[in-house]
Symmetry: D3
Subunit: 186 residues, 6 copies
């Protein structure tokens, strides 16, 4: 039943407006147990001259880039060990937290550390979850790791989950949990 | 700038309406990079006789219980080993996935397995993240584990993250990742 | 898809608001070929102090009585030959047009004329149709006549349709078509 | 006083939107006794990307063709005995009900029967009434018949009313009442 | 034609809501040359829990007292030489500007000066004009002065206009123009 | 907090729509003591075919010309003693009221009278105030006069205020108050 109306200043692209419709639909479903197909979201766009706050016209805020796309692009660059490209997705004050509570503040440190654990690694994604954090989007991706140990042996099907905090379309925090150690232990 | 208007049939409690306001505000922020305090959400309530779909009045959908509260209550019952109470928060087809890919379909199995790893365990929460999944809310909680190993030694500060899928106010899937094994290994 | 919003000054009863919802739903369906159950009509009520036209608050217009109920009541009174009650539903300038183009301006004339055609008559209703005319509601009722001819013989299953024009909750015109003559002829 | 707002997905022609405005105005007048010129209907159109039901964009429903135009075209074709053209306005399961309760399921039957009653016939329209039925528009047209009896004599000024049920822009039921028999009898 | 909708948090009195309706009607008329009685203003009130800015509920801003009432009360107290009461309507940084460009910062100065010009004075009001200034309401009142000169002679019908700036329901500036000197000169 | 929505038929220029936004913002501030920058005004435009009053489409009312611009243009023409141009801004039934209660019904009279008081005059504007009167905009302008007396001596810094009533974009009444006489007297 809920009918959600959004008032926007003109200027956002169609995909942004569709994304807005989807996240608002999901937000309603977090609170109201209505069948999905009775939730209506309609976005009205007004010309910039037709919107005033405090008696002044306003520029529309920029669209936030799709955070899942940013995370996917970063992980793809990392998998390809293209660190230069991967750095484009990271903020200057980026922090990484890895199994065992190991922390890094740049990719080089992380890569050096990872070489003591595996020689290659690939992520197969089971799913992404996105929500809004205090300062920006939070993305979780989960799935399975496969690759090769440092002794050359292959591994696969190892559970992982990564949590990313983004701000201004850049990743500022990555937290990694996985069962690699569980496997090494076993 | 976005002004979000929600049309509801009367009957939801104040906390539900506030929760709806908050999740819609967050949803907008996932897509539009506006300062938080220019995002307005206003909910209009109409009497049941004043809302028709297909020419028929409708009952408002039930409110979804706050999924974080459900997860907190479940984890609290588990920490107290009050399995009877913990089961109240679980659906009949509940599934659990634990480090190493171990799977359980009931609490007894899980508890039996856990006794081989630790004697007591307590979760200190660093934060909760909530989003909408395909079939219901998804809650992530993360923080640090402390407790005692089976040999009596204490542990603390061990990173964990749990992912819960809920449906109809019950937990139907719990996925657990943590660094317990990392610590055992080290 | 159409979402229809109606703004009303407070003060209409629940049945009036439901009736408004139903006629607006039907009106949409006359123009838009949407499945009935995606048409939403929601009525918002504002306090009398919250509505101004030309800078002045307004009294809400009276509700129009359900024209089908008026027609049913009139026909029931006629069937019972309770002319006093029937007259309550008629305007002063009422006109009646009967088969053969016979016209009456009061019930007595009509009753006198009808006695030359049948001694008793009962209407079984197949359906009512209601629409808005230039000056007020128009109601069609159709179905079958049964009763007794002046010679005492019974008749039944004779098709009829009546058209009523109403204004200010009174019937000001009744037009009658039926197959009585067809039967007499045969 | 009522202000009616309609939300539509872009794509309907101007005449359809005006027709929608008119039927909604009439619908309000069926229930609220307000002077016609204080009833406001305003239609807002949103881009297809700006409307979601259940998180999915939707195609606008097709416009319903003006049912009075369909009925007029059908009656005109019949008057010209252009049965091929007349059939274009009829659904496959069309039913006709004529004075005396005679029923037909195709035009040929009806035309054959009518030849026993009159040789030519023309309808002069006094008015049309349109409302929404359970499955589609219902149109009444009424007026006067003129033409020639089978014996060559002319007739005119004979009252008639036809009721048409339409579905998917086709006539699926025509019910005819008139005073032809009354005249024959007299 | 313009239809103006206002969204308010519940809690304003009826007279405040009517005043809002009137000033918005007048504001529209300053820009759109529509007949007054086609301008509609409707105010919707939502519960405090149903309004969020930045994800937080808000208290409604206080109502501004009617500035004309404040000016009337101040002028009435002055006419009665009830300076104690008159001071209640003045801000601490009040400024007065009188004919000849004479300026005062408190009532005592002004009263002393006025005694050199007239012994008594009464204002008859021809009209009030109210608009919004940069920091608060601006009220003009105009009309005619009558009273007695210092020599005991009476005067009347002398044109005046006063301009008042208000802020937070207090008068912070009064500017006075009148024809007293014109009369003295003559 | 107030969110003001305006529904307009398409066709007004951008400056008119901005002006409408500003006057509505100011109108709200006359009644609600909210920080200016939380007052939102958004104007929605619908196509002419999408707006009906009484079942009929309507032409949008003309925009009212900015009354301050009209007053400024009139005063500029007067200062330049371009009476032909000044007359373009006056209605046929224009009335002027000047210090001492002197009244004029045309510019020639006023100019003749003024020659007895000063030879040249220039207005320096301190500010304009605009509000809506019963029949049209009311503009106050105030500031200081400078120029030359008839004896050739210069004057300056003399306070003035003018009140203008406009109707249909023409000035129909000007009322003038100033301290010229005060200065002459002194």
């Amino acid at each position: 039943m809920p009918v959600v109306r959004v008032l926007l200043i003109e200027g956002y692209g169609a995909e942004v407006r569709r994304r807005l419709g989807r996240v608002l639909t999901d937000a309603v479903r977090l609170v109201i147990d209505a069948p999905k197909d009775v939730i209506i979201v309609a976005t009205e766009e007004v010309k910039p001259d037709n919107y005033m706050r405090g008696g002044l016209t306003k520029q529309p805020g920029a669209a936030v880039a799709d955070p899942v796309e940013i995370v996917r692009s970063f992980l793809s660059a990392m998998e390809n060990r293209d660190l230069a490209r991967a750095r484009h997705f990271l903020s200057d004050d980026m922090e990484m937290s890895f199994p065992g509570g190991v922390r890094f503040e740049n990719l080089n440190e992380m890569v050096a550390w990872s070489r003591t654990r595996y020689s290659t690694i690939t992520k197969t994604f089971e799913g992404f979850d996105v929500c809004m954090g205090e300062n920006g989007p939070v993305v979780f991706c989960r799935g399975f790791l496969s690759g090769g140990w440092v002794d050359g042996q292959a591994f696969s099907g190892i559970r992982f989950v990564d949590r990313f905090e983004l701000s201004h379309n850049l990743i500022c925090r990555q937290s990694v949990w996985n069962d690699l150690s569980e496997c090494l232990r076993g």
